[in-house]
């Protein structure tokens, strides 16, 4: 059976598409699936950096398209997990170096050998986006609980609905801060889902480990202690069709919080 092609997109930049791609890809590979990640952000590639594979890239997607090498040659194997491969973007070219049909073709070919083909989409709705969604039959729309990101996500969902081939799209709410939601300074996940009226695939809490892991070139799912890592693992399991409840992302209450709570109840009683 051919694998599924999932595009990870958002419209707005900086909401965590690439981080999500790297982590979901690694998590899926962990669970024994054969996964290939395609970076379509030609000219501004980052996915290789997040996976720590920068020094291994010889051929890129542009070389494949321009027939300087075979598709198999351009796939870079992950350091740790042999199930995970990366098809890197070229840094010295731009989005126009590849067109939608060519990318669709690449996805079709990779589908035969891999269980999951994850396409990391660039920001924006131009050529790069059109390329990335061309071969996809599923989409994950990444957004953060901010008005600007939600509006862009709404636009992306509209575009995805009008695309043939994309059968399913689900929402991933990233960089959620439970404390701010509690104090009503941030939109809640429910509000975001309601505004976008879209199925939810996962909620990822804000996590400082992400910054460290990006610099190390080591996806955060490899870190068992990280909350975001756990959340990404859950997302991966949902992609595989499992029914996993949402992760409790409430930050653990500190001692000071407990003392405050204690005094607050005392006051109320008194």
């Amino acid at each position: 059976m051919a694998g599924s092609v999932i595009v990870i997109t958002s419209g707005k930049g900086g909401v965590g598409k690439t981080t999500t791609s790297a982590n979901i890809g690694t998590a899926l590979a962990h669970m024994g699936n054969k996964v290939v990640l395609i970076d379509t952000d030609i000219g501004l590639r980052n996915l290789d950096l997040l996976l720590g594979l920068e020094n291994r890239i010889v051929y890129t997607i542009v070389d494949v398209v321009e027939e300087r090498c075979k598709l198999k040659q351009a796939l870079v194997k992950d350091k740790k997990n042999p199930n995970l491969c990366l098809l890197a973007a070229a840094q010295t070219r731009d989005k126009s170096a590849v067109d939608a049909d060519q990318l669709k073709d690449i996805c079709e070919q990779l589908k035969q050998d891999f269980d999951y083909v994850l396409v990391d989409c660039p920001a924006g709705i131009e050529q790069g986006f059109q390329n990335a969604v061309a071969g996809a039959n599923e989409a994950i729309v990444v957004t953060t609980p901010e008005m600007s990101a939600i509006r862009d996500a709404d636009r992306i969902i509209g575009l995805l609905e009008s695309k043939e081939g994309v059968e399913k799209y689900r929402l991933l709410v990233n960089r959620v801060r439970p404390k701010l939601i509690k104090s009503n300074d941030m939109m809640g996940v429910d509000d975001v889902v309601e505004i976008l009226s879209c199925d939810l695939i996962g909620v990822i809490p804000e996590d400082t480990n992400i910054i460290t892991s990006t610099n190390k070139g080591e996806p955060v799912v490899n870190d068992e202690k990280s909350l975001a890592g756990k959340a990404y693992l859950n997302v991966a399991r949902r992609i595989m069709g499992e029914d996993v409840p949402l992760l409790d992302i409430d930050e653990p209450t500190t001692l000071i919080d407990k003392i405050k709570k204690f005094f607050a109840t005392k006051k109320a009683q008194g």
Binding site: G43, N55, I57, K70, Q73, K77
Partner: protein, 354 residues
Amino acid sequence: MYDNEFFVVDMASCSSTGEIINSLSLALETLNHSGKKIVLKLNDSQLNQSQLLSIQSLVTSYGCILDTIETLNEQTAQVAQNMNILVQKPIEKRVEEKYPQDNKEEFQSFSMNNVTDNSIALKDVNGLHFEADLDEIQRQQDSININSDLVKAGINPQGSFAQIEQQVETKYPSVEEINSITDEFTKSSNNLDDVENLEKNSIGVYKKAYDENALSDDAWEEVDFYETPTDDPVVSDSKNTTYINQTLRSGQILESDGNVVIIGDCHPGSEIRALGDITVWGVLSGIAHAGCKGNLNAKVRALKMNAVQLRIGNCYSRRPDGTNIPYIIRSSIFTPEEARVVDGEIMLFKINQN
């Protein structure tokens, strides 16, 4: 952020304790690495307990731990052992003992496993004698022209190199003059070679990358670079030297059918391809491909070698994982190195001070 546990400080060029303390505090001050384990390389100078104690307290005051000392002197080793500091012989000595025939291939893998993996080698703090030679070249720079239609800017930003070409062209018009000067340049770079050839303490940091990378084993056999290396390699016309006084940024490609000299850094994501040698007067962090049409005698030199990939002719090597020099260190200390092909593998040679 960078999980390099060890930090190698090379003090082999220092003779007195004062000098060691001076350079060590300089090295520790410029870089931020509290909590790291320090590996101190010393020459055969003899240190007593109080001197070692003062060094140790200096290291501790910067929040580091003095973990290992490399020394040839037995008395120093004895004292260090009494102080519960690990003692090991210098890498060159250890290699000699292990591989008496000086098998370079094994030497490379040996030194890689022991020193360079997961540690930042901070080699010579004290100065740059390489400077002298290149300074001379730099003085001649006023007369060196660039072969203008060879400089090709990357896609972004368009035409930035073209602008430099124009400037340089208007400044230096005579072609004959260029040729004579570039001849001199080649000569002086040959002199450099002589100096380096005396040095045998090569440090091979770069790893042959034909392993574990490809999906199928036979895939790599088919690998060839942008130009297929032929039996008759195209050796560069050494009279052609492209001279660039600019930082090469991500996404920019510099192509030349001669030698390339860059005064400035080459950032990650940039690419240099030249038929001849590549010399970077700065930090080389991108991809450098010297002798890109099969010339295995081509060399890559840089004040600081941090290249993601090095390619010479049809040889190809990549930086070991986890040895990316952090941005903080990049600006302060330089260890000029040269890469050339030895027995079909790219090896790094320190361009030494004496």
